[in-house]
Subunit: 495 residues, 2 copies
């Protein structure tokens, strides 16, 4: 992406904004020299870079309110930023905009072990919550792979998942309440400590809204008890279709494993020399099925899962015999991305979600695309919730390979939508997938999104041009809209 | 409530609307003679009655679209209606409005046993879903006590619960997707068959929106496997505070019972002569704790719950020894409302929700109010999720008792909010509790609700004056807003 350079107009706006911010923030919380703003030019999607006009780091809610009031008055767009670990460019700055970092809002406000909740500021790291409550035998369940670094504010913005989300839910299922500063500087609380609440349920809209509706200043999360025991089954399959169907069978049997992950042979052969996880590298597909709970629950569930997997055609089954072995089985899955980086000069990680029962069909489709594009694809996924992470391998130095990889990725996402799935599982839309939104949603649905966005942020200053494409953009992209496997040509844009 | 009579203006509007509806609906789907519209004058909140101008019963989605387009054009307000079993007056008609009944949209469209989902039209009864999928060993979990009669469309509108919602969730947790006709006649699909979806999460806003955002024409629900075994513990306590604390201890121990219900002595003595459930009528409080799952899971969980309840001070514990005994233990709880009707000329059923840990405190507060108002109150509740149903008993024929009961009820709800709870658990706001919304929410929060309402229904034609009070109404009501136990005087209304 080409950066926009600062011209005289941006420099004038910058002076105006910095001057106003100095009235409400301490000097050390305002950054605008290039050497200070450079670290904020991208998030985890490093292909998109843009130097922001100003960065600010408020230290309490009142400062957040003051910043939003200033930006409303001066009509400055704001890009909210957590730890910057996002993979879809949701925190990519705007050349004439402000980056509002929540890094300094990092206090754990209150832990209530009896009610099993914690109230924390958005800059608290995901793993720091679990560490703080470990003494009570509790933890915070959603565990994105970036959990050492990512913060709860970013998790709320992206509705982050992790390997345990099949059983324990995504961020939206583990957050009870948020305090939010709206663009006019007013504070609202969304959600409630109770199971149900009257009024419109705006908490779930806020979670996953990618910074477009307001700035979160406090998050009340649910905590869950640490399980006494956990064991994992490694099951081998002679073909990916049988493995895919076995996933559907486990779920259809009424079992909700603590984790249910699948890797194809390309993936297991890729990681085994690297981490020595003990994988069956002759199998076309490997399933990892975890059970957690009390000793009796785990014993019974492992027995039931084993029976279902055998019935579904597993060619071999191994159960972890110790905590060390359990962690070793998982180490292969968790190191799939770095392993891809060892065997291929470049790779492109996709993130799509499909109905579980269509898994076998989508795997077959991806195999056909490998031939069509002449590129290899390693498939690892959160199979239990149908969240695919195909890793397309290519060499950017070979003429045309990057473009082929991009087209391959786009075709995978279109297949996901065609079988009734979605274009993202847990990485968000950001700027990376904004064109794919035109494929996923009808014009009426995009209009509904914009109407709600406008209800919170009338002037459209919060993270503009992310997550929801304008109809104009969709018209330019010119892709068809696919709904329930039916092709549907987009209506003409309204302008 | 005083009914508004039909004057010449309403009669003129009626002629106009009926004429337009005849262009798009069969004759038998349009009702406007008083003898035909009389059955629609109220829902389960029978104190509020109003004859509607017209009732219509569309038979497919295209007819729903046509009706909404006509009402948009003629600016006719619409009250959507399911089975009319609601308890908060959400389906109370408007004198110059249309009642849109979903009763004829009653097809089960598709059952997918492998994916464990069912796609149904809104007029399908809650229990009919479970009956239709019983052959697959599945059922639909949310079970409001009206489940024989109430329909899934109404459940979606009210976000209905039931005794199993502690473990299995409310309606919002059991619905994957809805098809909705918006006021301009356009159709959108909210939600997805996948765990997560890109774009704003509007499904959760729609569920529980009490008919204010659109008309649902199709609902995709999750199905769950029927448990192999269920058993229930009946635990006695010598005082309600100890019983209330025991509820918090069960949850704090990391157990999620399939049901966790509490009754005080007034309630158990009220129902025992009526149903002979075998209750300990000397106990000040009785807890019913259910476990379901496989035989091994249930055995282990019953043992753990027994240990926690003993530790928490239970004076006696009994475990159901057969399915017949289990159903008998539950029969008392489920017949509490009819039993109240036998011993008291009138009763007023409240529906508030509080954080579980504040249960003992709220019970003590209600006991003090009994003295203050000179009225008895039987307390039954979905204790596990903190949803109280205090039954205030009174005799409307005694001078002043109705007003005292009403004031008693309002004070209970204000106590619920003061301890961090809400004014409704599962019965909705409707028109009954609309004033209490002024106590629950700040002006900024009510503004946010209205902004979202307007994003879906610009002209405000869908179920106006329900669920969300106007700021003008709150100003007239003049009650203080209580947040987190802190009194806060309302800001001046903005007009």
């Amino acid at each position: 992406m080409q950066q926009t350079e600062q011209g005289p107009i941006i420099r004038q706006r910058q002076r105006e904004l910095v001057q106003a911010l100095h009235q409400v923030l301490p000097k050390h919380s305002i950054l605008y020299h290039e050497e200070d703003t450079r670290p904020y030019e991208c998030d985890g999607l490093t292909a998109y870079r843009q130097l922001p006009m100003v960065v600010c780091l408020p230290e309490d809610e009142a400062q957040v309110q003051a910043v939003l009031r200033i930006c409303s008055r001066l009509q400055i767009p704001i890009v909210p930023r957590g730890a910057g670990t996002g993979l879809s460019g949701g925190a990519t700055p705007i050349a004439d905009g402000l980056v509002l970092s929540t890094a300094k809002l990092n206090r754990i406000v209150r832990i209530d072990a009896l009610a099993r909740t914690a109230r924390v500021q958005p800059g608290v790291r995901n793993l720091a919550i679990s560490e703080a409550v470990a003494g009570h035998g509790l933890y915070y369940a959603p565990d994105p792979s970036s959990q050492i670094a990512c913060t709860i504010g970013g998790n709320v913005a992206e509705n982050s998942g992790g390997v345990h989300c099949l059983k324990y839910g995504l961020t939206v299922h583990n957050v009870l309440r948020v305090r939010v500063v709206l663009m006019d500087g007013e504070v609202v609380e969304l959600g409630s400590d109770a199971l149900d609440a009257p009024g419109l349920e705006l908490l779930s809209v806020f979670v996953g809204s990618e910074g477009m509706l307001g700035i979160v200043t406090e998050v009340t999360v649910k905590l869950v008890p640490k399980p006494q025991v956990a064991k994992v089954i490694m099951a081998s399959f002679n073909d990916v279709v049988t493995g895919g169907n076995a996933v559907a069978e486990v779920i259809a049997a009424g079992i909700i494993p603590a984790g249910l992950e699948m890797m194809d042979k390309t993936s297991s052969r890729m990681v085994e020399p690297f981490v020595h996880a003990g994988y069956d590298t002759d199998a076309e597909a490997i399933l990892l099925c975890e059970s957690d709970g009390t000793a009796a629950e785990v014993e019974e569930e492992i027995a039931r899962m084993t029976a279902v997997l055998q019935q579904a055609g597993a060619s071999a089954i191994a159960v972890s015999q110790s905590e060390a072995e359990r962690l070793r089985f998982w180490s292969g899955r968790k190191n799939a991305f770095p392993a891809a980086g060892r065997i291929s000069p470049d790779y492109y990680c996709m993130d799509g979600t499909i109905p579980r029962k269509r898994l076998a069909e989508v795997l077959t489709g991806i195999a056909v695309m490998e031939q069509k594009y002449g590129l290899r694809c390693a498939n690892v996924f959160h199979a239990g919730d149908g969240n695919l992470h195909p890793l397309i391998m290519f060499d950017a130095n070979q003429e045309g390979e990057f473009l082929r990889a991009e087209a391959f990725g786009a075709e995978i996402l279109e297949l996901c939508v065609a079988v009734g799935g979605t274009i993202t599982g847990e990485h968000g839309v950001g700027i990376e997938k904004i064109n794919s939104m035109c494929v996923q949603f009808t014009q009426t649905e995009l209009n509904a999104f914009f109407a709600v966005k406008k209800a919170f942020d009338t002037a459209g200053l919060l993270n503009p041009d992310k997550a929801i494409p304008t109809l104009h953009r969709c018209a330019e992209y010119g892709r068809m809209h696919v709904r329930n496997g039916q092709l549907k040509f987009p209506d003409l844009p309204r302008f």
